[in-house]
Symmetry: C2
């Protein structure tokens, strides 16, 4: 696959303008700061293909549900992440010619996303006519240092001519979502104001009444000297702008820098969002571009210090993992408990930008191991705060006694999704939410969380499972009928091994936790019933083998391999009708293997191998969440080449656009899976009862691998090379632990941290 982007360890670089890849490029070069973010749309007027996108964390619109055939229980609306005020806009007219890359001759083009600095730069030389070449240099960042600040700077340099420049610096709040069900505008105009060099636009969302205010101040310079201009001040509903004209001279550099404050009332209904946004832009212009950028880069440095992974000897792999880490921290920083991690982050509108089980199954382990444990705890609190709504949701579906079913997709705790086979049946998400609590406590030892919050979530989830199991006379066991597992290429199946397994585990873990917490949240009758279910859970298995059966009837299918599918029919979800996919043996993502990954300690290597060898050849990995888990298990069973192939697929999914869908946004949540596949896969790290197990298996082209790892609030710096495998702590004091390749090593973290040299 020939790629648009250069391979570089710290940068994403695009060296020519390619309209057909513009949408993908806008996604790839997206920037954000956990609080807001945006696609890499151009600042200036652009008539080529584009998907405008500027998003504010947590600000959503409940779009009326669109459905072909209504089923009882469907939610009334789908919470959409909102495309908000365009704050980057600077239109340029040079000698009466509206600058538009799509309409002018591009002599040179460079777009660079410096991931170390979190800086998006673009350098374009345009041929305006036979005599006129114009150089434009844009820089932009969403401040990691100030969650409400965005900065844009453009240098304009007429290389071989003099003339007139007209510039329009504007904010436009009249933006539509691409993904609307009934083509509505989601915003109302509240108030705006515009003066010389500044202005603001305050809009509110329909129905949800969220307020956002975007304020700008800007300045103009010539060769870094401030230039006074006389702007025309324009105001219309939703939009404000300053338009001014200046003389520009050959080979001089004219700079417009725009400082934008963005605030919302997400955290405080009474917040004066206008004042706040104005304050931020005013402060920013006073501080100045260089200083703001320095602070921003420093904030990124701190993130990289904690979470960088270095891979020596493999630039592709190195770029891939950094891109993933970079995007994850742009999307979520853990600073706000009302936020979560949408599948597309701030890079597109698809999937509504809401919370999926991806958060617990993939993202939580990433934040847990790369940052302070409070970040992961924040993600748990998000679900805890929505427990009442999860109970309400279950009640709507006929469950009682405080049983909770967390929504498949949510923004505020209410279900948004409306496909019966997903909304009502992909109930394994409840298991992942319980598992996240377990995972968090395993890593942090923070059992107080269990006492104060976790136990309530666990009990409510277990009540759901109790009611969802039913006794089968036929099987003389408890069964779970009518589910969709993580493998969404099977719908409404019976006894999905993964779902049954995690449901049973939830009951067990809740009972254990209850004992620890020593409260009386579960009745004796419930304890009795849960134990009965635990003892009699039906778990399908292939006779005379260690292979767990994905679901009842799986062996009735024609047993084919992915290699039997003609290449032109891949991906099958773009080529086969849905029924054909469903009745085929082909798997979208880890299902049995996902379960084995979660509960690895329950299975021996032989079992893992047999299951991997049975299921992996049937897996088309058409979910972005699939390859990472497979990569980890491939490491376990020593299929390092397979693991590496899958690692590249996951880490470069969007860079190399494997699934032909990067144009609509990036696969943010699956990026966490990439990180896990290095740490738990190649590095072979498992944490159990706060003990660290290490069994590294480096791919052959990796000379060394370095990263930090959080265990029990301490950071361990881990460094592997092919010759010598060491473990260091976060100071310079080395903990020398030599072990043989391929062997497992058990590190008791407390003990090891006491070792010094």
């Amino acid at each position: 696959m020939k790629n648009l982007f250069e391979i570089d360890e710290w940068k994403i670089v695009q060296n020519h303008y390619e309209p057909s890849k513009q949408l993908q490029s806008e996604s790839i070069f997206s920037i954000g700061n956990g609080s807001f973010g945006q696609r890499a749309n151009f600042e200036e007027n652009f008539s080529g293909p584009t998907l405008q996108g500027s998003y504010l964390g947590g600000i959503y619109y409940p779009d009326k549900t669109k459905v072909g055939w209504w089923k009882n229980g469907y939610p009334e609306y789908f919470a959409k992440v909102l495309n908000s005020c365009n704050w980057i806009g600077i239109n340029l007219i040079v000698n009466n010619k509206l600058i538009d890359i799509h309409n002018q001759k591009v002599i040179s083009f460079n777009k660079t996303l410096d991931m170390k600095k979190g800086l998006l730069s673009r350098k374009v030389t345009l041929q305006l006519n036979d005599e006129s070449e114009l150089l434009l240099e844009f820089d932009r960042f969403c401040s990691m240092d100030n969650p409400n600040l965005g900065v844009v700077k453009v240098n304009i340099k007429p290389k071989n001519f003099s003339g007139k420049l007209t510039a329009e610096v504007y904010l436009n709040g009249k933006v539509y979502n691409n993904d609307t069900n009934f083509n509505e505008l989601f915003w109302n105009h509240e108030v705006s104001s515009c003066n010389k060099y500044k202005g603001h636009v305050c809009t509110s969302t329909k129905k949800t009444k969220f307020l956002q205010s975007t304020a700008m101040e800007y300045m103009v310079e010539c060769n870094e000297k401030k230039l006074e201009v006389i702007p025309e001040v324009l105001e219309e509903p939703f939009k404000i702008s300053n338009k001014f004209q200046i003389e520009i001279k050959e080979n001089q550099t004219y700079t417009i820098s725009k400082y934008v404050g963005i605030s919302t009332n997400l955290n405080d209904a009474k917040a004066n969002v206008v004042e706040e946004s104005v304050r931020v832009s005013k402060n920013a212009i006073a501080i100045g571009y260089e200083e703001l950028l320095k602070n921003h880069i420093k904030a990124w440095e701190e993130i990289w210090e904690k979470s960088d992974i270095t891979i020596a000897g493999d630039k592709k792999a190195q770029q891939g993992i950094r891109f993933n880490i970079f995007q994850l921290y742009q999307t979520y920083t853990g600073k706000n408990e009302k936020l979560n991690i949408g599948p597309k982050g701030f890079t597109g509108e698809k999937y509504g930008g809401a919370t999926y089980w991806d958060t617990e199954a993939y993202c939580l382990p990433f934040y847990l191991k790369t940052n302070h444990s409070l970040v992961a705890r924040q993600l748990l609190m998000y679900r805890f705060n929505q427990l009442d709504k999860a109970i309400e949701n279950a009640k709507k579906l006929g469950f009682k006694n405080g049983a909770a079913l967390y929504p498949m997709v949510t923004m505020n705790g209410e279900e948004c999704h409306n496909e019966w086979e997903i909304t009502f049946e992909e109930i394994h998400r409840n298991g992942a939410i319980a598992y996240a609590i377990f995972n968090y406590i395993e890593h942090t030892g923070d059992k107080n969380y269990l006492i104060n919050y976790g136990i309530d979530v666990l009990v409510a989830i277990s009540r759901f499972w109790e009611q969802r199991f039913n006794w089968s006379e036929e099987k003389n066991s408890y069964v779970i009928l009518g589910v969709t597992g993580p493998n969404e290429y099977e719908n409404n199946i019976n006894n999905n091994w993964y779902t049954n397994y995690i449901a049973r585990w939830c009951l067990k873990y809740t009972l254990e936790s209850q004992e620890f917490v020593n409260s009386k949240k579960i009745s004796d009758e419930e304890i009795k019933k849960w134990n009965k279910i635990i003892k009699n859970t039906y778990l399908p298995q292939i006779a005379n083998s260690n292979i767990f059966l994905q679901q009842d009837g799986f062996l009735d299918k024609e047993q084919l391999s992915v290699k039997d599918i003609p290449l032109k029919e891949r991906p099958i979800n773009q080529n086969w009708s849905w029924d054909r996919i469903l009745r085929s043996v082909f798997i979208k993502q880890a299902d049995v293997l996902q379960g084995i990954y979660f509960f690895e300690e329950d299975f021996d290597i032989k079992t893992i191998k047999e299951n991997f060898n049975f299921y992996e050849p049937k897996t088309v990995h058409e979910s972005s969440l699939s390859p990472c888990i497979h990569s980890i298990l491939a490491c376990r069973i020593n299929s390092i080449e397979k693991a590496y192939e899958l690692y590249l697929r996951t880490s470069r999914l969007d860079l190399d656009d494997y699934n032909h869908e990067a144009d609509e946004g990036l696969h943010i949540t699956s990026m966490a899976g990439t990180w896990i596949s290095i740490i738990e896969g190649f590095a072979g790290i498992k944490i159990k009862n706060q003990e660290l197990y290490i069994n590294p298996k480096l791919p052959k082209n990796w000379n060394s691998l370095t990263f930090n790892l959080k265990v029990q609030n301490n950071t361990i710096n881990v460094f592997f090379n092919r010759e010598k495998l060491n473990i260091k702590n976060n100071g310079d004091k080395l903990i020398k632990v030599n072990f043989r390749k391929e062997s497992s090593y058990l590190l008791k973290t407390e003990e090891s941290l006491n070792i010094t040299i």
Copy 2:
């Protein structure tokens, strides 16, 4: 259940105006003539609840598909039956007061649908003020004698006052569908014209470019004497009208009669629809109301002569069956091979008015036995004509080699429906279409149909089944995975007994037919493969019993009875979430029992009984197609009371509004099931190889039962009474066949028709 309508053997009568039941009433009193039809909307202005509906057979609009989540293979559009020009409108203003039942005091109200005559009448006395009472009498019919003619007549009688009447006689072509996906107007205005006493409106459908023209002429009379008026002639796009004022005198009767010609280009793209509509209305006014009505009644008499069923001793049952027969013939007469029978006929918009498997499974037997065999043949030809599209449809889903999958819902042969579990998986419809061919030939002996048309359909359907079966190593059999059976309360199941059974039967019947036809349409390889499938079809069954298993895993469900569901939770499809319905044991409609009904000769009474007793208690009959089949089988196993209960439920489904949905239209196709439940159920008639088996079982309150029956193009008049059971032919020549109650009697029709007395 207190009903709005009186019990009468030949009439539907409503004796008071009830706004909350107005929509249901509009459905119940619908009239039509197979070519067009309409809901019983009022002629005059009406501000109460109403669903305007005036429909033209075969005229549809391809409404862009609305779907929450697109699946590959979904059709781009859904063909909607169109709400067309309002042709009944006559607005009345008396002494400056706009007549509107909803706003005036109703002193008396009577609405009568005379099913014998096909005449809808309404008689209303309104109190306009303290001194003024106004009597209005409306009569309306859609001519059975002239498929393009509709007639409205209104008598206006000021009972105790004199004053002014302003009347507006109009046509309005600007009508919207209630059931649109994106609130579009489906019509373009083509041309219209208006003169004194007459006018026409021609409109065309967007996209499909169907033309319709509606033309009217009208006259005004006083006490049956023609009255000249001076109308104001009004024309606007889509609408034309005549508005005139006359003096009206106490106790005199003023009559407006409106003659409407309606034509379309359905059959002939070049048809001059305007001329035709004008011709019809002009001729009609020349012939005059009384004569037109006489001809209309005569046409109905001919229908009743062929298809009436009389039940002595049970008025409710009598009214029910006549209502069903009446509605069926209003909907479809077999005169046009481009038409078919929509689930709501001309009584509502729901389900798009297109063709479902209902046609073959329920309607065909009705027309086959109550009319000339050409009518049933017309229904077969409809599918034959769409074979190419069915092959195309299957191809889209990945099938090859001329395999055909007929659409679930269609207007022109292309699939319209977009729920994957139905569209792609409810494939048993293919079986019903093959069975209809078999059924037709069994009854008519018209084996030429097989040679010329039937064999092609059968081969293409069988090719589909061949490819849809797959070999299961596990079961050592051919299985069919991922289907929805007639019981739509199960989705995406494996080895639905009904589907597997009818699929195997299709293969067998096609092979037999091929032998008869003696052509080489099927390759030797195919013959071999089909025979292998026939020999090794997997048909699930409960061990040690005669009970066929609805699908794999059915016994894993909690085995409950309908009586275990609290009444307030019925119907479950309005109270339970979809997943709960799916994993419950409850059945929407006959599935195993539908199969036993189709292939009754394959099973002994003991088997039928065991299956009925296993499945019927689990069946909620929430499909209108369910009770009839159960009623028939209940007769077979001598549960006459159960059969009678189910018969009433099916025959009075809409009259008594069992499912609380008669407001959106009537269940036209299931009405045929009602007829079958009498003929094949209580009358116990089965036709096999053109031999007639009779085994009647009358409910205890039925003194006698009479009907005609078509066998091999001859009509047999069948008459049962409790004392003496006779069979007569269609003359007065009795075929005296005495037999004991409860015994089976075999009548060879040819032989018996030779018997005279």
